[in-house]
Each structure stands twice: as structure tokens, then as C-alpha cells.
Symmetry: C2
Amino acid sequence: MEQQTGTTTNQGTYGAKRFGDAMQLLRDCVPIQKRIVRTGESVYQVGQAFACLYVINTGFFKMVNLSSDGREQVVGLHFKGDWLGLDGIATQQYRCDVVAMDVGEVWAIRYDALIEASAQAPQLLTVLHQAMSRELGRDHDSMQSLCTLPADARVAGFLRYWANSLEQRGLRTDQITLRMTRAEIGNYLGMTLESVSRALSRMAKGDVIRFSEKGRRDIQIPKIDALTQFMRAGTAPKAACAIH
Amino acid sequence: MEQQTGTTTNQGTYGAKRFGDAMQLLRDCVPIQKRIVRTGESVYQVGQAFACLYVINTGFFKMVNLSSDGREQVVGLHFKGDWLGLDGIATQQYRCDVVAMDVGEVWAIRYDALIEASAQAPQLLTVLHQAMSRELGRDHDSMQSLCTLPADARVAGFLRYWANSLEQRGLRTDQITLRMTRAEIGNYLGMTLESVSRALSRMAKGDVIRFSEKGRRDIQIPKIDALTQFMRAGTAPKAACAIH
DNA sequence: CGGTTGATTGATACACATCAAACCCCGTGG
DNA sequence: CCACGGGGTTTGATGTGTATCAATCAACCG
């Protein structure tokens, strides 16, 4: 695995380059409105009239679904290069809130302008469709985790996902800073904050992760494989016993 | 709520017409390869090279995610007018299996041909994007159900979703035939087949649903509102007590 | 400094999984 | 025709993974 691939040109894999290319294309082909979003502020909110898609330039965002009876659910985490607002196309209204977990910058792109521009530059469609397709795949993986993995494994999977997301974007992965509280993580993973805390404690005990000296929000992952290992540990305990 | 809206022209709502319009447009603008898929056969399988999107003309399909360690997960149910294969765009390989739960017909459309055709007929893009956007929204709702609702409410929500899906397509909803075993339903909802069975029994006891005389696979829903009611019952039992 | 917000850890409770038995339906073949 | 077998469903008894409740602790801040 390469690190700091800011200038590397890896085309086959999902490297940092993928994002750079797409963003350069956007800059060139469509009018873009840059916008700073401070921590806790939202890019858009449920019910708002749909007009723009947003591409994340910097920052971390959570996507929150609100049900009619007041339940809140974090349904996605988004990083640099991800598109926001896609769920608004169908109904012409945004279906969820997107909130910045850190100060960040998004590029607003009018959907109608994007479609128009795609007549001249069809690659724009490829970029858009790939973003949507990727999110569909991610959602399916999330559903699978929620349905088939025990709590500990879900937390491990979450850390692995976060580390992978950073790595794909050419960011540091040896020391990651979770920008979410235990409660937010728990909400995203379908468990309580206490369960998240216990899972992390168990991982720390097994040296799968390490807490940084300053704050329990910074986590070191010595070996990502250890996380994958830890996930399987809970999934199929019978197998280990069957060997005798 | 109107029934049998086969010829009705309701534009604002998600009526049966939406599907007819889109399918007519496709017929007119892009080459279509019709294909019959028998019960248990798959439209495509994970790992297969991506080339086509599929639009369901008739039948019911389940979308199954397979993880590297062998876990299977039903991540979606699809009906007439839904698009299949969208998750393959990003990686150029299908990411899951789509299996017919009943004999049905799908229309295969080459993705590259669709993009080309969209240069002449931009409405094609609208149709495609709305389909993707709708699925994203659906997935988020599923995640919310999995994370926040108890087992009974999830089963009720599942029935309501099924009934709504039929209604939007102008099909009968008074008597619905589940084309899935309890085990499949349980897999989709993140619970065991026994829990599904118990939930259905409880609903039948409360007259929220009725089993048809022939087989426990056919279910009558006298009032859909009763399902919604049943969902809330488990969600906030404290509130009822607090009133005294 | 007290006050607040988030994290950890323990004791207990409960929703659901697991295990097990019985039943129903339906097709097959003697 | 009935015997048989097998897949699907129901229902009960028991076990367990997490939720819930509660206390303590750490960090931050006006």
C-alpha cells in the first residue's frame, strides 16, 4: 500500500488520483459555487427544495435520516470526493440532513447545469454515475454488517472502513481521529454508546488498536489486518472449537 | 388512494403512470433485449463483467450481497419498473446477485448505448437518475429500520413497504402473496425466521393482518394504517404508560 | 473552581437467538 | 390409495448478546 500518493498516477486502483481527476473535470466543465461549512452546520436539510449536488473538497460529513416519528439515523459518512444530495433527485427534495463533523468545503453544482454540461463532456456522467453506484454498494455493505455481524465486529468494520477511506484519498491512516462521539458511532452502527465503548476497550486490550495519549478520540491502528482478524473472531467461534 | 390506476394520469404522485412513461421512453430511444428469468434464476451474478442495466417489466426480484467470508444478505427487493445492475457501474463488475422470486421479464439495456442515446433524449438521464436516487433513499430507510426498530415493527414495516410497492404500481394490495420464505424475510430484516413467524402470529392475533385460508404465504391487510399503528406500538411503549 | 459534556465500567434486565419438537402441505412412488 | 419424505411453518423452553440503569472518571471551559 502506498502512502501520500498525492502525485502518484495509479489508475487501476481506487487511489487518490481518482478524486483529483474528477474534481479537475468538474472545475473545467461546470459552474461551481464553493462554500465553507463549519462544524455542526448542515450542507442541506430534509425537505429543502432540490437544486444542487455537492462535491466534498475538504472535511468530513455525516448524513442523517429523520423519520416522521422523530427517530434519527446516521446513514452515511462522507469524505473528500464524495457527492452529496443524490437522494434529492428523485423527489426534488432532499431526503436527509448532511452535517459537517469538521470545518470543510463543498462545491455546489446545479443539477440542471451538470446535465446540460454533460452533453459536451460525457465523462461528467461517468463521474456522477460512478459516485452514485459506489454509494449504493456502500449502503449494501452497511446493511450486510448491520444484519450479520455482532456488535464488536461492526465496530471493527467501522474503523477499517474509516481507515480505508482515508487511505484511498491519500491521507494518513496510522493515526486516525474519529470526529464522532461514541453515541454517533453507536447510532450509525445500530448499537448503544456503551457497546461501542466496550468494543473499543476490548480491541485495545487485544492490541488491535491503541488509544493515543491525548484523548480517546484518536486511535492508532498498528495493523489493519488485525482488525479484519478481530472481526472474524466473533463471527465464527464454532470453527475454532471444532478443530479441538 | 386510487386503485387500478392503469389508465389514470396522476403526475405528481408516484402512481402507476410513472412506470409506464419511463418504459415507453426506453422502448422508443434505446435498443432493448427482452429476457425471461425463471424462478430461482439470476439476472446477473457477483463478479460478472458489467455491461447492461436491466429494467424489470414483470416479476419480483431479490438482490443478494455476498461477502468474502460467505455471508449472504438480501439487500433489496425489486418490482416492476425498478432498475437492476446499478451497483456495477462504479467497478465495472456486478457487486451482488439478483435472483427472480417468480418468473419475470427484464429488459436489458447496454449502459454505453443508454449514455449515447441520452445525448438525443436527455429525459433518459432523468429516468435513470431518479431510479438511482430512489434506491439510495430506500436503502437509507432500510438502514434506519434495521437500526432503530424492534423486530415486530420491522416485519410490519416490511409488509407495509410491500403493499405500498404494489399499490404504486397499480397492483392489488388487499391480498398480497409473499414470494419469500420466513428465512428470506428474516435475512432481509436482520432477524431469525422464528422471529418473523412470531411477529406475523402476533399481528394476526391483533387482527392487523389475516392469513388466507390456503397457505400462510398469502396475507390480507384489512387496513394499512393498522400496520403503521402496530409499528409504533413497540417503538414507544413508555409514552402510553406515562399518560396513566 | 464548579459545571458540563463525553467516556468508561459494572450490575441487571430483556429482546431476540438458539435449540427442539410438532405440524402442515405437497409431491413421489410403491 | 396411502405411506413416505422433505421443505416450510409454528410454537415452546432455554440461553445469551446487548440494552438499560447507574456510578465514576477525565477533559475542557467560562
